[in-house]
Amino acid sequence: MNKFKLWLEQTMMISFAILVGIIIEGLCYTVFGGDPLYEFKMDWLQMVSIVLTGAVCSLPTVIWLMDTDMPKNKYIVRIVLHCIGLYAIVSLFGLVFKWYTKIDGFIFMSIIYFAVYIFVWVVSLWFHKRDDNKINKALDDIRDEE
Protein backbone atom coordinates (compact mmCIF):
# COMPACT_ATOMS: atom_id res chain seq x y z
CA MET A 1 0.00 0.00 0.00
CA ASN A 2 2.88 2.29 0.87
CA LYS A 3 4.53 1.63 -2.51
CA PHE A 4 1.20 2.24 -4.28
CA LYS A 5 0.92 5.61 -2.54
CA LEU A 6 4.49 6.43 -3.55
CA TRP A 7 3.73 5.42 -7.12
CA LEU A 8 0.71 7.76 -7.20
CA GLU A 9 2.77 10.63 -5.74
CA GLN A 10 5.57 10.03 -8.23
CA THR A 11 3.05 9.84 -11.09
CA MET A 12 1.67 13.24 -10.15
CA MET A 13 5.12 14.79 -9.78
CA ILE A 14 6.54 13.41 -13.02
CA SER A 15 3.33 14.20 -14.95
CA PHE A 16 3.54 17.77 -13.72
CA ALA A 17 7.19 18.00 -14.79
CA ILE A 18 6.33 16.67 -18.27
CA LEU A 19 3.41 19.11 -18.51
CA VAL A 20 5.74 22.02 -17.69
CA GLY A 21 8.23 20.75 -20.29
CA ILE A 22 5.59 20.47 -23.01
CA ILE A 23 4.17 23.92 -22.23
CA ILE A 24 7.68 25.45 -22.40
CA GLU A 25 8.33 23.67 -25.71
CA GLY A 26 4.93 24.76 -27.10
CA LEU A 27 5.43 28.36 -26.02
CA CYS A 28 8.89 28.49 -27.59
CA TYR A 29 7.58 27.11 -30.92
CA THR A 30 4.62 29.49 -30.84
CA VAL A 31 6.72 32.57 -29.99
CA PHE A 32 9.92 31.88 -31.94
CA GLY A 33 8.56 29.64 -34.72
CA GLY A 34 10.25 26.40 -35.68
CA ASP A 35 8.73 23.10 -36.67
CA PRO A 36 5.93 23.98 -39.16
CA LEU A 37 4.28 20.61 -38.54
CA TYR A 38 4.10 21.26 -34.81
CA GLU A 39 0.88 22.69 -33.49
CA PHE A 40 0.72 23.44 -29.81
CA LYS A 41 -2.51 22.13 -28.34
CA MET A 42 -3.59 20.81 -24.98
CA ASP A 43 -6.43 18.40 -25.68
CA TRP A 44 -7.55 15.32 -23.73
CA LEU A 45 -5.20 13.00 -25.65
CA GLN A 46 -2.27 15.21 -24.70
CA MET A 47 -3.32 15.10 -21.04
CA VAL A 48 -3.80 11.32 -21.12
CA SER A 49 -0.38 10.89 -22.73
CA ILE A 50 1.24 13.01 -20.01
CA VAL A 51 -0.36 11.05 -17.14
CA LEU A 52 0.39 7.72 -18.86
CA THR A 53 4.04 8.67 -19.30
CA GLY A 54 4.19 9.86 -15.69
CA ALA A 55 2.70 6.57 -14.49
CA VAL A 56 5.20 4.47 -16.49
CA CYS A 57 8.16 6.66 -15.46
CA SER A 58 7.24 6.41 -11.78
CA LEU A 59 7.53 2.60 -11.82
CA PRO A 60 11.35 2.48 -12.03
CA THR A 61 11.46 5.30 -9.48
CA VAL A 62 9.46 3.31 -6.92
CA ILE A 63 11.23 0.01 -7.67
CA TRP A 64 14.82 1.31 -7.93
CA LEU A 65 15.19 4.47 -5.90
CA MET A 66 13.07 3.76 -2.83
CA ASP A 67 15.36 0.96 -1.66
CA THR A 68 17.91 2.99 0.30
CA ASP A 69 19.85 0.24 2.04
CA MET A 70 22.89 0.11 -0.22
CA PRO A 71 26.31 1.75 -0.52
CA LYS A 72 26.41 5.32 -1.85
CA ASN A 73 28.31 4.36 -5.04
CA LYS A 74 25.79 1.68 -5.92
CA TYR A 75 22.95 4.14 -5.37
CA ILE A 76 24.59 6.71 -7.67
CA VAL A 77 24.87 4.04 -10.39
CA ARG A 78 21.16 3.40 -9.92
CA ILE A 79 20.41 7.11 -10.31
CA VAL A 80 22.36 7.23 -13.59
CA LEU A 81 20.52 4.14 -14.88
CA HIS A 82 17.23 5.63 -13.67
CA CYS A 83 17.94 8.88 -15.53
CA ILE A 84 18.75 7.01 -18.77
CA GLY A 85 15.73 4.72 -18.35
CA LEU A 86 13.34 7.60 -17.85
CA TYR A 87 14.90 9.44 -20.80
CA ALA A 88 14.22 6.41 -23.00
CA ILE A 89 10.60 6.21 -21.81
CA VAL A 90 9.97 9.95 -22.29
CA SER A 91 11.60 9.88 -25.75
CA LEU A 92 9.50 6.89 -26.84
CA PHE A 93 6.22 8.28 -25.52
CA GLY A 94 7.10 11.71 -26.95
CA LEU A 95 7.53 10.13 -30.38
CA VAL A 96 4.29 8.13 -30.12
CA PHE A 97 2.21 11.06 -28.84
CA LYS A 98 3.94 13.57 -31.14
CA TRP A 99 5.38 15.88 -28.51
CA TYR A 100 8.07 16.39 -31.13
CA THR A 101 8.13 15.63 -34.85
CA LYS A 102 11.64 16.61 -35.92
CA ILE A 103 15.18 16.30 -34.62
CA ASP A 104 15.28 19.87 -33.27
CA GLY A 105 12.12 19.13 -31.26
CA PHE A 106 13.79 16.01 -29.89
CA ILE A 107 16.89 17.95 -28.91
CA PHE A 108 14.74 20.61 -27.26
CA MET A 109 12.81 17.97 -25.33
CA SER A 110 16.08 16.30 -24.28
CA ILE A 111 17.47 19.58 -22.92
CA ILE A 112 14.28 20.20 -20.93
CA TYR A 113 14.31 16.60 -19.64
CA PHE A 114 17.85 16.77 -18.28
CA ALA A 115 17.31 20.28 -16.89
CA VAL A 116 14.21 19.12 -14.98
CA TYR A 117 15.94 15.91 -13.81
CA ILE A 118 18.92 17.82 -12.41
CA PHE A 119 16.68 20.51 -10.92
CA VAL A 120 14.61 17.89 -9.05
CA TRP A 121 17.77 16.34 -7.52
CA VAL A 122 19.26 19.71 -6.57
CA VAL A 123 16.01 20.73 -4.85
CA SER A 124 15.80 17.33 -3.16
CA LEU A 125 19.37 17.59 -1.79
CA TRP A 126 18.72 21.14 -0.65
CA PHE A 127 15.66 19.91 1.31
CA HIS A 128 17.78 17.15 2.87
CA LYS A 129 20.41 19.68 3.94
CA ARG A 130 17.75 21.94 5.43
CA ASP A 131 16.22 18.99 7.34
CA ASP A 132 19.69 18.02 8.66
CA ASN A 133 20.18 21.50 10.07
CA LYS A 134 16.74 21.50 11.70
CA ILE A 135 17.22 18.03 13.22
CA ASN A 136 20.74 18.81 14.49
CA LYS A 137 19.51 22.00 16.09
CA ALA A 138 16.65 20.12 17.80
CA LEU A 139 19.08 17.40 18.96
CA ASP A 140 21.30 20.04 20.57
CA ASP A 141 18.41 20.87 22.92
CA ILE A 142 17.80 17.32 24.15
CA ARG A 143 21.24 15.67 23.99
CA ASP A 144 22.54 13.92 27.11
CA GLU A 145 25.77 15.18 28.64
CA GLU A 146 28.53 12.57 28.81
Binding site: Y75, D131, D132, K134, I135, A138, L139, D144
Partner: protein, 145 residues
Protein backbone atom coordinates in the same frame (compact mmCIF):
# COMPACT_ATOMS: atom_id res chain seq x y z
CA UNK B 1 -2.59 24.66 31.86
CA UNK B 2 -0.44 26.82 34.08
CA UNK B 3 3.16 25.59 34.23
CA UNK B 4 5.55 26.52 37.03
CA UNK B 5 9.28 25.96 36.82
CA UNK B 6 11.35 25.92 39.98
CA UNK B 7 15.14 25.63 39.83
CA UNK B 8 16.79 23.08 42.11
CA UNK B 9 20.44 22.50 42.96
CA UNK B 10 20.92 18.82 42.14
CA UNK B 11 19.54 16.02 39.97
CA UNK B 12 18.27 14.17 43.08
CA UNK B 13 15.88 16.98 43.83
CA UNK B 14 14.33 16.97 40.35
CA UNK B 15 10.64 16.07 40.26
CA UNK B 16 7.52 16.99 38.33
CA UNK B 17 4.02 17.31 39.80
CA UNK B 18 1.10 17.52 37.42
CA UNK B 19 -2.25 18.68 38.80
CA UNK B 20 -5.14 17.99 36.44
CA UNK B 21 -8.83 16.99 36.43
CA UNK B 22 -8.12 13.89 34.35
CA UNK B 23 -5.25 12.14 32.56
CA UNK B 24 -5.52 13.23 28.94
CA UNK B 25 -3.40 11.95 26.04
CA UNK B 26 -1.26 15.07 26.31
CA UNK B 27 -0.65 14.49 30.01
CA UNK B 28 0.13 10.82 29.42
CA UNK B 29 2.63 11.87 26.77
CA UNK B 30 4.23 14.36 29.16
CA UNK B 31 4.48 11.73 31.92
CA UNK B 32 5.97 9.25 29.49
CA UNK B 33 8.50 11.83 28.34
CA UNK B 34 9.48 12.81 31.88
CA UNK B 35 9.69 9.25 33.18
CA UNK B 36 11.53 7.94 30.13
CA UNK B 37 15.04 8.35 31.47
CA UNK B 38 14.29 6.96 34.91
CA UNK B 39 12.79 3.71 33.69
CA UNK B 40 14.88 0.63 34.15
CA UNK B 41 14.70 -2.82 32.63
CA UNK B 42 16.43 -6.15 32.97
CA UNK B 43 19.29 -7.16 30.69
CA UNK B 44 21.90 -9.88 30.96
CA UNK B 45 25.53 -10.53 30.06
CA UNK B 46 27.76 -13.52 30.77
CA UNK B 47 24.98 -15.18 32.77
CA UNK B 48 24.50 -12.19 35.07
CA UNK B 49 21.37 -10.06 35.16
CA UNK B 50 21.51 -6.30 35.47
CA UNK B 51 18.96 -3.52 35.70
CA UNK B 52 19.93 -0.66 33.43
CA UNK B 53 18.40 2.79 33.21
CA UNK B 54 16.89 3.81 29.92
CA UNK B 55 19.12 6.89 29.95
CA UNK B 56 22.18 4.61 29.62
CA UNK B 57 20.98 3.07 26.36
CA UNK B 58 22.38 4.21 23.00
CA UNK B 59 20.37 1.89 20.80
CA UNK B 60 18.62 -1.47 20.77
CA UNK B 61 18.94 -3.94 17.94
CA UNK B 62 17.17 -7.12 17.00
CA UNK B 63 19.25 -9.82 15.28
CA UNK B 64 17.87 -13.30 14.53
CA UNK B 65 14.96 -12.76 16.93
CA UNK B 66 17.36 -11.84 19.75
CA UNK B 67 17.41 -8.36 21.26
CA UNK B 68 20.65 -6.60 22.09
CA UNK B 69 20.94 -3.41 24.14
CA UNK B 70 23.97 -1.17 23.51
CA UNK B 71 25.30 1.14 26.20
CA UNK B 72 28.61 2.90 26.90
CA UNK B 73 29.62 -0.17 28.94
CA UNK B 74 28.97 -2.56 26.07
CA UNK B 75 26.31 -4.87 24.69
CA UNK B 76 23.69 -6.77 26.73
CA UNK B 77 21.08 -9.39 25.91
CA UNK B 78 17.48 -8.51 26.60
CA UNK B 79 14.44 -10.75 26.90
CA UNK B 80 12.03 -8.12 25.58
CA UNK B 81 11.11 -7.78 21.92
CA UNK B 82 11.69 -4.49 20.12
CA UNK B 83 8.00 -3.60 19.96
CA UNK B 84 7.70 -4.15 23.74
CA UNK B 85 10.69 -1.92 24.46
CA UNK B 86 9.36 0.69 22.06
CA UNK B 87 6.14 0.92 24.10
CA UNK B 88 7.91 0.58 27.43
CA UNK B 89 10.53 3.28 26.86
CA UNK B 90 8.60 5.76 24.73
CA UNK B 91 9.74 9.39 24.77
CA UNK B 92 12.91 9.87 22.74
CA UNK B 93 13.29 6.15 22.06
CA UNK B 94 12.00 5.40 18.60
CA UNK B 95 12.30 3.02 15.70
CA UNK B 96 14.91 4.06 13.17
CA UNK B 97 14.61 0.90 11.08
CA UNK B 98 12.71 -2.38 11.22
CA UNK B 99 15.32 -3.93 13.50
CA UNK B 100 16.50 -1.01 15.61
CA UNK B 101 15.37 1.46 18.27
CA UNK B 102 17.49 4.55 18.78
CA UNK B 103 17.77 6.89 21.77
CA UNK B 104 17.59 10.35 20.21
CA UNK B 105 19.26 11.84 23.28
CA UNK B 106 22.44 9.95 22.38
CA UNK B 107 22.67 11.26 18.83
CA UNK B 108 25.52 13.71 18.26
CA UNK B 109 24.49 14.72 14.75
CA UNK B 110 22.78 13.50 11.60
CA UNK B 111 23.68 13.66 7.92
CA UNK B 112 21.33 12.83 5.06
CA UNK B 113 22.51 10.56 2.29
CA UNK B 114 21.61 11.03 -1.36
CA UNK B 115 19.17 8.11 -1.05
CA UNK B 116 17.14 9.94 1.60
CA UNK B 117 18.20 7.78 4.53
CA UNK B 118 19.94 9.50 7.44
CA UNK B 119 23.23 8.49 9.06
CA UNK B 120 23.10 9.28 12.77
CA UNK B 121 26.41 9.56 14.64
CA UNK B 122 26.00 8.63 18.29
CA UNK B 123 27.92 9.99 21.28
CA UNK B 124 30.11 6.85 21.20
CA UNK B 125 30.99 7.62 17.54
CA UNK B 126 29.01 4.67 16.21
CA UNK B 127 26.96 5.43 13.12
CA UNK B 128 23.45 4.00 12.81
CA UNK B 129 21.07 4.36 9.89
CA UNK B 130 17.67 6.02 10.15
CA UNK B 131 15.65 4.61 7.27
CA UNK B 132 13.77 6.96 4.99
CA UNK B 133 10.41 5.70 6.26
CA UNK B 134 11.17 6.78 9.84
CA UNK B 135 12.56 10.26 9.14
CA UNK B 136 9.13 11.87 9.41
CA UNK B 137 8.61 10.33 12.86
CA UNK B 138 12.06 11.54 14.01
CA UNK B 139 11.08 15.08 13.07
CA UNK B 140 7.74 14.70 14.82
CA UNK B 141 9.36 13.48 18.03
CA UNK B 142 11.76 16.40 17.94
CA UNK B 143 8.89 18.81 17.46
CA UNK B 144 9.93 19.96 14.00
CA UNK B 145 7.70 17.72 11.86
Amino acid sequence: MQVTFEKVDSKDQEQAVIKAVEVTDEISGAIELLEGDAKGFAVSRDGKTYIIKASAVYYIESVDKKTFVYTKQGCYDCKYRLYELEVMLGGYFMRCSKSMIINLKKVRNVKSQISGRIDATLLNDEVVVISRGYVKEVKRRLGIG
